[in-house]
Amino acid sequence: MSTSNKSVKAAARPGRTLVILALLMLALLASVLISGATAVRLGLDLRGGTSVTLQPRIAPGENGKVTTEAIDQAVSIIRQRVNSLGVAESEVAAQGSGTNRQIIISIPGDTGRRVVELVGQTAELRFRQVLASAPGAASATPADSTATPAAAVTPELNAQFAALDCTKAENLQGTGSDNADSPIIACDRNGGSKYILDKAEVLGRQVSKATAGIDQQGGNAWYVSLVFNDEGTRAFGAITARVTSLPSPQNQVAIVLDGLVVSAPRINEAIPSGNAQITGSFTQVEAQDLANVLKYGALPLAFDRGEVQQVSPTLGADQLNAGLLAGFLGLALVLLYSLLYYRGLGIVSVGSLLVAGALVYLFFLLLGKWIGFTLTLAGIAGAIVAIGITADSFIVYFERIRDEVREGRSLRSAVETGWVRARRTIIVADFVSIIAAVLLYFFAVGGVRGFAFTLGLTTLVDLLVVFAFTKPLTTYLARLNFFSSGHALSGVSPKSLGALSHSTKEA
């Protein structure tokens, strides 16, 4: 045994590794308990709900490219619309990169058709003169804050205006369907006030540039500066010249995005140059938001419906059960096979798979809390497929041990030398599997990502388990008489393995 000194030293403290792993698992368990992650977050295909994938493109009749900023703006507009439905745990997110980004909307429960119609409309930016304004809540008396409503305001509009309650979420969803050529009533984006607005006079696409800046002389106040194109310069010059002398609130021009008033600055003077500045008590975030809104308006996006999927809770539950059943069945079969084939050593693979399973489950719980990981059907499939990959790591190791025993080593020595050789194979092979998972994740859409994520996660867990559990446990077992004496049921009996006859040979 003296020449195997090195490898023995390397594995001198299998107990310590096992304790570290146990501590890690305890820490994970504690995090789970502390963060209150009691259940794995399930995807909509497992609990029912509607998911819509939108593919943004340039609205008809517009030129330009779909930019990341435009998509971010679109996401925030759609989020506003979706939140107005008041369904808990709704999500709106952009996915993919560059111009190929998609917007994914997921809403649990039974809201199917309404959502699909709501989210797919183009949101446009328009400038409209304010004709009247009032606090957001519905008021009993019509047009209470304006003594003389402008001529364009019909009694019907005035009545609608009075009834409009901007404190209700459903009135803040925006529709994108505000008619550009007629006066409208609209809420402030955050519901604080409501407005009667004249027909649109300047359009979003007539804005050529919008930036947020800070005025260094004037007490570091944030402002937004705007540059109009030729058409916009003329139109904006005309509206500002007309309203600047009117009484408040009619000297305000509202910036309306998606049927909601983003800002309604007062016009201090006629602005014929096409360069305007909006000042006020902006915070940095507010100024930048407004600038983005104005930029986005320069390029309204239309949305192609890529995919709409509506899963009823019944089907969701069926799919969840089927996924779990398949998982348990697969795990059971693999455990059974490894016990039958590897006998005593099979205990190691049973233990390792159970530890790997527990770790994966804990990670599912925690990642759900931390990064909003949701488990989908494809994800479950990824985890089940990974059972095979995990089991293979044990097979590679066990076969190496058996090879070493065949060459006449004692079991204790075979466990160490076999490990050195198997280790490399396992790392290289798992690495290929991780490359596959990462690339799948970044190139793919929707369900594929869930699959790639769980496949990658379980492969990492496999590496952890093989190093921190399988190897130390095997080292321990090799010290037991049952295994080292080569019992027929141990799975490493030199006799049944056909070991070389001169088994006294030591490397």
């Binding site: 419906r305 089927a322 398949a326 076969e399 596959a436 699959f451």
Partner: protein, 351 residues
């Protein structure tokens, strides 16, 4: 059990040896035939693409006692007749698949289904795919495929050697061709889940090849120094030595995939689980085959072209081929044994 172990031992020592590399032309011919058949099936029949790729809509109504005739009534009342497929799935489900629909038509059909089957609209499982969506998915899958092959090739070339990377990738492409060919031939539906399956096969097939190549490299490292075996013979021994592992791995991988297939097809009828596992099932089988019968022989042939390996082959043949086969099994001449401990410190230093 002991019989299998005994076989494992004999394969390890070289006592029992299956000549994979020598008979490579046979396997090449078989694979060539399969690939030609695949290409023929692909060009004649094409793949049976699901609505995810060509655009369309699918509705599933779950209600006991529902019939196909009811679905036909609903379709007629909504005035929809393009590319309609109505299927009964399981005991209580009816699935209606149509070509691309406008949102008005889709809503009309949902309403008609809800009233005909007397269920609520929200309980109808719906999937609507825009016509341009499929192109997007196909493009992404293609990018994924190309990116994957490039990255893995680079990695294998660094971790092993460039020729191994080439052989491994050829084996993977071989697997994809045959799997796609089987899909075209049988006419299985190709859905995004199937594509996931295909992409996973790539990973799996490479994984399998990596394990075999690792052993090949170990066996051939000192092959020129000892002059006892040609590269091909050493590589063949490696395949034989990893045969038990390959078989076990394939079985262990197929067990869970088989159970997904069983549950997915048996309980759910159709959908993600079935499509995914079917692709995996077929791919795993071809993957196991190619890493043994295609990748390793290919590698051996490429390496044998090198001058050093040619010289080695000459030396070995000069010593007499029969002698090599005889000594390979004898303990004192065992290549692996002589070489093993000597290489160990080197490995540690590298880590």
């Amino acid at each position: 059990m002991s019989k299998i172990s005994g076989l494992g031992g004999r394969l390890h020592s070289g006592e029992t040896s299956i000549d994979f590399i020598g008979k490579r032309r046979r396997w090449y011919a078989l694979s060539g035939l399969l690939i030609i058949a695949s290409i023929a099936a692909l060009s004649l029949q094409g793949l049976h693409l699901g609505i995810e790729f060509k655009g369309g809509a699918s509705y599933t109504v779950t209600k006991a006692g529902s019939t196909v005739a009811q679905a036909d009534t609903a379709l007629a009342s909504a005035g929809i007749s393009n590319e309609v497929i109505v299927q009964k799935v399981g005991n209580d489900k009816i699935r209606i698949q149509t070509g691309s629909l406008t949102s008005e038509k889709s809503n009309a059909l949902q309403d008609a289904l809800a009233s005909t089957f007397a269920v609520s609209i929200d309980s109808i499982d719906t999937q609507i795919i825009g016509p341009s969506w499929g192109k997007e998915i196909t493009r992404k899958a293609l990018y994924g495929l190309i990116g994957f092959i490039a990255v893995v090739m680079l990695y294998l070339a660094m971790a092993f050697e460039p020729k191994m990377a080439v052989a491994a990738i050829v084996a993977v492409i071989h697997d994809v061709f045959i799997t796609v060919g089987i899909y075209a031939l049988v006419g299985f539906d190709v859905t995004p889940a199937t594509v996931i399956g295909f992409l996973t096969i790539l990973g799996y097939s490479l994984y399998d090849t990596v394990v075999v190549f690792d052993k090949v490299r170990e066996n051939t490292r000192s092959v020129t120094a000892t002059s006892k075996m040609t590269y091909s013979q050493a590589a063949n021994l490696a395949v034989n030595q990893t045969l038990v592992r390959s078989a076990n791995t394939s079985i262990m991988a197929l067990l869970p995939v088989g159970s997904i297939l069983f549950v997915g097809a048996g309980l759910l009828g159709a959908g993600t689980l079935k499509d995914l596992s079917l692709a995996l099932f077929i791919g795993l089988a071809t993957g196991a085959y190619s890493s043994i019968f295609i990748a390793t022989p290919l590698l051996a042939v490429m390496r044998e072209r090198e001058p050093a390996m040619k010289a080695l082959a000459k030396r070995v043949h000069a010593r007499g081929n029969s002698q090599v086969l005889a000594t390979a099994g004898a303990p004192s001449e065992d290549v692996t044994q002589k070489r093993g401990p000597r290489n160990q410190p080197k490995r540690k230093g590298r880590k």
